[in-house]
């Protein structure tokens, strides 16, 4: 059995969610757009899921929820769609340096199409300040897109305040909330959010299904052209089992937030303190308090992340790192560099993300296995040798 500490990458589908989905593969297979009776069931299931998603983020109206194929599609749609429909107002977009690549690479694409993008810096904890958003807004700014919570370091952004700044300036505000939805409370009305991206598999739903909240009145063209599904804004026969799954998953997770959040925060605290107590030359990345309940991100000096992951894997522990070797390039994570970490510390980062299925026994297991792994790699490291010699 594996010890799964990579819930920010994806999550296991909850049995209740799978059970809700299964009938929509076999007996309830009708195309929701068709007229006969068996399609009425699937159409109703899609609308029920839409209501479940709307309710979970307190969207005033279920028809402000659009189902997509996932977080990346939602992000692409938000940025390219608004860039397209508001081009007559201006061609300036504001985002942050620590966004997910679904945002950053879409922004880079838009730059090649003549748009100008401001990438706001963050502080040492990865926080985007509302003041910096305010200062960056220009008359030709058409969109601000700031993530709700960061996928690597877990920092939760001051979304309500940033939303207020945007409202006041009359600029649309989108948030990539893929990591935050169903993990922390979200209220799109109270938080001044105009558009919000989410992904089902981050909260115990299936992969390949996401959604976007688009506040009523926002002009946005269709992303996938074709049939009249999703009120003509996203063509393609609905992924009914996926939609049923995301609806059930979000309802379930949000209904349990009151107990699940404190449980995960306690595990997070135990894991962070346990590691920092047992391992010297280690530092916590991200905000100490304003962070996702299940996120732990720690840099170990003098060693490299991939090596840690391989040795953890030998102990059946699944985790991830921001090292170059895991990013597929020679540079470590852009998020860790943006919070001011030097390259060598960014290479030695380890992300452990917990979730619904994580138990305290599993946390204890990591606390038992990790320190000797770090020590073993340090004994092999010429950088650690220098430090030890210097301290002699």
């Amino acid at each position: 059995m594996e010890y799964y500490f990579d819930n920010a990458a994806t999550t296991k589908v909850r049995p209740e969610v799978l059970e809700a989905m299964l009938p929509y593969f076999t007996e309830n297979y009708g195309n929701p757009s068709s007229i006969y009776k068996i399609s009425q069931k699937t159409k109703k299931a899609v609308e029920t899921a839409r209501e479940q998603v709307a309710k979970a983020i307190n969207a005033p109206n279920a028809n402000e929820i659009y189902f997509t194929a996932g977080g990346s599609e939602s992000d692409n749609w938000a940025l390219k769609g608004i860039a397209d429909s508001y081009a007559s107002k201006g061609k300036h977009i504001i985002t942050s340096a620590i966004e997910h690549h679904a945002i950053l690479h879409t922004c880079e694409y838009l730059e090649t199409k003549g748009y100008e993008v401001t990438y706001l810096p963050v502080d040492e904890y990865g926080v985007v300040s509302p003041e910096s958003v305010k200062a960056a807004i220009r008359p030709d700014t058409i969109l601000v897109s700031i993530m709700f919570a960061n996928n690597e370091i877990g920092t939760i952004e001051p979304i309500k305040e940033i939303g207020a700044v945007c409202r006041e300036a009359g600029v649309l505000f989108h948030t990539d909330a893929v990591q935050a939805v169903a993990h922390v409370p979200i209220d799109v009305q109270d938080m001044n959010i105009d558009m919000l991206s989410m992904s089902g598999h981050k909260f115990y739903g299936p992969k390949g299904i996401g959604a976007m909240y688009i506040r009523k009145g926002i002009k946005i063209p269709s992303f996938i052209h074709g049939g009249a599904q999703e009120r003509k804004r996203r063509a393609g026969t609905e992924n009914v089992p996926g939609i049923v799954g995301i609806g059930k998953a979000i309802e379930l997770a949000v209904s349990e937030l009151d107990t699940e959040m404190p449980r995960l925060i306690a595990l997070r605290t135990k894991l962070i303190n346990g590691i920092l107590d047992k391992v010297p030359y280690a530092r916590l990345n991200g905000h100490p308090e304003n962070r996702l309940p299940g996120n732990v991100n720690i840099s170990f000096e003098y060693i490299e992340g991939e090596s840690i992951l391989l040795l953890l894997d030998m102990n059946e522990i699944c985790a991830s790192s921001g090292s170059a070797c895991t990013s597929g390039s020679l540079d470590p994570s852009h998020v860790l560099l943006a919070i001011g970490l030097p390259h060598e510390k960014a290479h030695g980062s380890l992300r452990l993300t917990m979730g619904h299925f994580t138990t305290e026994e599993e946390v204890d297991f990591v606390l038992e296995k990790l320190p000797p792994i770090v020590e073993r790699l340090r004994e092999m490291s010429p950088l650690y040798e220098q430090i030890k010699n210097a301290n002699k």
Binding site: E304, S323, C325, E344, P382
Partner: protein, 147 residues
């Protein structure tokens, strides 16, 4: 990305980790910025590499290539040592993923850096050996721009 069984074996059970106190030559290559540093110690007697040890900061491939390179050089003459290329190290490990090939280059350079150090210390010239580009060993005579 998948490593071969041999790479995993040399990563999990690296051969020759450590230091040699009275090493004949020591070479350090790489940089912490890109995430790989290899330090190789050689004990050379009568023109033969009697022992080799290493310390490495880096990924699985960096550790495995260091381990294999030090295995390959042990018992070789200096002339034979120069024939241990990155390709030879990779082949001995049953290959590396394309993105990790640079690790094997670094392993070759680490051996050369240690041999270079040996040559410098003994005032000899080793035919065909050049100072590796990524050499970051703390030779007194190395000009600052090489760091």
């Amino acid at each position: 990305m998948m490593y071969s069984e041999k790479v995993m074996d040399h990563f999990m059970n690296p051969r020759n980790v450590g230091e040699i106190e009275d090493a004949s030559g020591v070479g350090t290559v790489g940089n912490a910025k890109c995430g790989d540093i290899m330090k190789v110690y050689l004990k050379i007697e009568d023109g033969i590499v009697k022992d080799a040890k290493f310390k490495t900061f880096g990924c699985g491939a960096a550790v495995a290539t260091s381990s294999m390179a030090t295995e390959l050089i042990k018992g070789k003459t200096i002339e034979e040592s120069l024939k241990i290329t990155n390709k030879a190290v990779m082949e001995a490990l049953d290959g590396l993923p394309p993105i990790k090939v640079h690790c094997s280059c670094l392993a070759e350079e680490a051996l050369h850096a240690a041999l270079w150090d040996y040559a410098q210390k003994n005032g000899i010239v080793i035919e065909g050996l050049e100072k590796p580009v990524n050499d970051i060993s703390e030779h007194e005579e190395v000009p600052a721009e090489d760091y």
